[in-house]
Amino acid sequence: MKEFKILAVIVALVAVTYYGIEPYAHHVMHPEPAPADYAFSDLKNVDTTLKGDVANGKVLVEANCIACHSIEKEGYPAMMSDSDAASSYGVVPPDLSSAGHLYQTNYLANFIFDPVTASNLKHKYPEGGAKVHPMPSYNWMAAQEIMDMVAYLQSIPKATYVSESEERRADFIDACGRCHSMAYAGISARTPGDVAKAYLGATPPDMSQYIKSRGRHYLENFINDPQRLLHGTGMPRVGLSEEAQTHVIDYMEEIGDAKKAEREDLGWKVMLYMLVFAVFALLWKKQIWRDIH
C-alpha cells in the first residue's frame, strides 16, 4: 500500500505540472473566441427571404459576371490563363460552377452586394482609399435581382465524384486553391506566389501541415472569420457553408495527418500487448519474490 501512496504523490505532482503547462497555458495563450457563425448574421444588406428566380438570375449572371468569372460547368470558359488573370485582377477570379454550393446563401448575396464588407477587409480597402477590391459592389442592384443570381448559382448541379475524398479535394481546391498550395497533395496555388503576395501582403502559406500546426478547432474558427483570430490579416472571410468548410478541413486532415487511422488502430493493440507483458511480469515477479519476503 505504501507503494501506491508514493505513486499517488507522483501522479498528483505530475498532474498539476501537466495542467499548468498544457491546458492552462494554452488557454492563456490562445483565448477561446466566440463560436463560428455559419449564418454570417452580421451581414444584413440583402433580404435573403426573397425567393430567387433562376431564369432571371441566369440572365443577370451572363450580363454581369462572366466578363471576369468562368462558369465551366455551364459552358462559360475562362477568358485568360491563370497567370494572366492573376496579374490583371491581383488574384485569379473564382470559377462560379461550385459557388452556389460552397458559399453560404446569406454570405453569397451580401458578397455580391458589397465584397469588402462581406469578406471583412475594410482595413485593406478603406472607403475612398487608393486600393479597391477587384470585384465591384453590386449595391445598386435590387435585393430581388441579387437573390435571383444566387438562386441561379445554387441551381447549377454539383459535379459527381467517385469518392467522398475526391469531393473534399475539389471543394478544397475551389475554396482555397486560388491562393493556397498544398504540396503534400500535389496542389499548387492558381495565383502565382509573388502576385498573391502583392495582393494579400504576404505569401499565402502552404496548407500541407496546417491541420497539425493549427488543429481542427482553430481552423474552424479561423476560416469562418480570419480577422477574429488574426487581426489585420489579408485573408478574406470566404463565407463557406458549414458543410463546405467541414469538407475543406477534412481534406486538410486527410493530407496533413494521413496516418491517423493507422495510428489509432495500432495504438490499442500495442497497449494491449504491453498489458499482457505487464501481467506476466507481475506473475513472474510474485513467483520470484515468494522466497524473498
Partner: protein, 416 residues
C-alpha cells in the same frame, strides 16, 4: 598463449575465451541490491529502456532524415511521417520518448534527493547522474532543432543567444556555436552531428560510468540503512533469502523492474499513439521562418524551470542589468545540483520526511520547481513576471540556505 583443453559445452567454450560465467556472476547474479526498496528504484531501468527505444527509433529516423534547411522539414513531415511504412511510429516514439525520459529522469533525480542517495560515499553516483542530465539536455535541445519547424528555429535562436551574455567572448561565441551570424544551415548540420554522434557517444560513456559508480558504494535503500553487503550476500547465498538484506540484480531485482516497465509502457504507448501533443508542439509543424517570430516562444517543458530562472530577473538591480542577472542565475541553476552532496552538511541518510529540517526544504523545492515550470511557459507579463521573479529568488535562496539548515539539522540529530 595459455593451454586450452577441449570444451565440453558451448558455455565452456565461451567461458574459456571470455570468462562469461564469472562475468554474469559479477554483473548479474551476484551483483547485490538492497531488498528494502520500492518501485522508485526501478526508474533507472525505465530510463534505460526509454533510452534504448530512443536509440533504435533514432537509427530508423536517421535513414530518411535530411539535415539541410531546404529538405529537413519535408523529410520529417512528409517522407518519415507519410511515405515510409511506420515512419510516423518511429517519429512518435522518438518525440514522446524524448519528453517522457525527462519526466522519469526528474523522478529518478528527486528520488535520489528525497532518500539522500547522493552523499556519504555516493557522491560519484550523483555527479555522474547529473552529468547524464546535462548530456540528455544537450541531446534534447539539439534534437529539437532537427525537424526545422518554427519552434525548432526560434528556440535555437533564443538559447544560442544566451551565450552572448558571457563577458568578453559572448558575441564571438554565439557566432562560433551557430557557424553563422544567424541560425542557419550550418547550425542545423552541426546540431545534427551533435545529436546523432558526439552527444550519444558521450551519453553511452556516461551511462557506463554511472553504473560503475554504483558498484562500490552500492544502491541506497528506503531507510538509508548502512550494512555490510558482503555479509548479507553470504547469508543469501547460504539460502537465507528471507533473512538477508540483499537480493541479486538478476533475477530478483529485474523481475520487479520488468513489471514496473510493463505497466509504465502501457502509459507510454498511450501517449505515443493518442496524446502526443505535449511532445510535438503544434507550432513546430510550421516550417522555420527567420522573418516571422511566433507570438510565444518557449522551450520544451523539461527546460521551463531553468528558462524561468533566466527570465525571472526582468529589471536591473544595483546597476546590473536584468539580462545579466538572469544569465548568472541561469548558470547557477544549471550547476548547483552538482554541488548538492556538499551543500547538504547533515550526515543523515534518511528519507526526507524523517529529517527534521530537510523535509521542509525538499517540499518547498518541489513546489518551487513546479511553479517555475508552469510560469516558464506562460507569457511573462504583468503579475506573471513577478511570480517568475519570486520563484526564481526562492530557488536561489533555497540553495543558499541549504548548508545552514542541514548544519542545524546535524546539530539536532547529533551526528547520526
Amino acid at each position: 598463449m595459455a593451454e586450452f583443453k577441449k570444451a565440453d559445452s558451448m558455455l565452456e567454450w565461451f567461458d574459456q575465451r571470455l570468462g562469461v560465467v564469472n562475468f554474469v556472476k559479477v554483473m548479474m547474479t551476484e551483483y547485490w541490491i538492497p531488498k528494502n526498496i520500492n518501485f522508485l528504484w526501478a526508474m533507472g531501468v525505465v530510463i534505460t529502456v526509454l533510452f534504448t527505444l530512443l536509440l533504435v527509433s533514432g537509427i530508423f529516423l536517421l535513414m530518411y532524415y535530411k539535415p539541410d534547411v531546404n529538405m529537413a522539414f519535408d523529410s520529417v513531415n512528409f517522407t518519415i511521417m507519410q511515405d515510409v511504412a511506420y515512419g510516423w511510429l518511429f517519429r512518435h516514439i522518438h518525440a514522446v520518448g524524448a519528453s517522457v525520459v525527462f519526466l522519469v529522469i526528474y523522478i529518478h533525480m528527486f528520488t535520489g534527493i528525497y532518500y539522500g542517495s547522493y552523499k556519504k560515499g555516493r557522491e560519484m553516483i550523483w555527479i555522474s547522474g547529473m552529468l547524464l542530465f546535462v548530456l540528455f539536455s544537450a541531446e534534447g535541445f539539439s534534437g529539437y532543432m532537427l525537424p526545422w519547424g518554427q519552434m525548432s528555429y526560434w528556440a535555437a535562436y533564443v538559447i544560442t543567444e544566451i551565450f552572448g551574455g558571457i563577458p568578453l567572448i559572448g558575441d564571438e561565441l554565439v557566432v562560433w556555436i551557430r557557424g553563422n551570424f544567424y541560425v542557419s544551415d550550418a547550425t542545423l548540420t552541426r546540431f545534427f552531428m551533435l545529436h546523432v554522434l558526439l552527444i550519444p557517444l558521450a551519453i553511452l560513456g556516461a551511462i557506463v560510468f554511472h553504473f560503475y559508480a554504483l558498484r562500490f558504494p552500492h544502491v541506497n535503500n528506503e531507510e538509508g540503512e548502512f550494512f555490510d553487503f558482503d555479509e548479507e550476500a553470504e547469508k543469501y547465498k547460504a539460502g537465507d533469502k528471507k533473512g538477508s538484506k540483499v537480493i541479486p540484480f538478476w533475477p530478483v531485482f529485474l523481475s520487479k523492474d520488468f513489471m514496473v516497465v510493463g505497466f509504465f509502457m502501457i502509459f507510454f504507448f498511450y501517449l505515443t499513439f493518442y496524446h502526443y501533443g505535449f511532445a510535438m508542439d503544434a507550432i513546430n509543424f510550421d516550417k522555420a521562418d527567420g522573418l516571422k517570430t511566433p507570438a510565444h516562444i518557449y522551450p520544451e517543458w523539461y527546460f521551463l524551470w531553468s528558462y524561468e530562472v533566466l527570465r525571472g530577473f526582468f529589471f536591473d538591480i544595483a546597476g546590473i542589468s536584468g539580462k545579466d542577472l538572469g544569465l548568472i542565475a541561469f548558470g547557477i541553476a544549471n550547476a548547483i545540483f552538482f554541488l548538492l552532496p556538499w551543500l547538504d552538511r547533515s550526515p543523515m541518510v534518511k528519507p526526507a520526511n524523517q529529517r527534521p529540517y530537510f523535509k521542509y526544504w525538499f517540499w518547498i523545492l518541489m513546489a518551487d520547481l513546479i511553479v517555475l515550470t508552469i510560469y516558464g511557459k506562460l507569457p511573462p507579463t504583468g503579475v506573471n513576471a513577478w511570480v517568475g521573479f519570486a520563484s526564481s529568488m526562492t530557488f536561489l535562496v533555497l540553495f543558499a540556505v541549504l548548508p545552514f539548515i542541514t548544519k542545524l539539522e546535524a546539530k539536532k540529530v547529533g551526528g547520526k
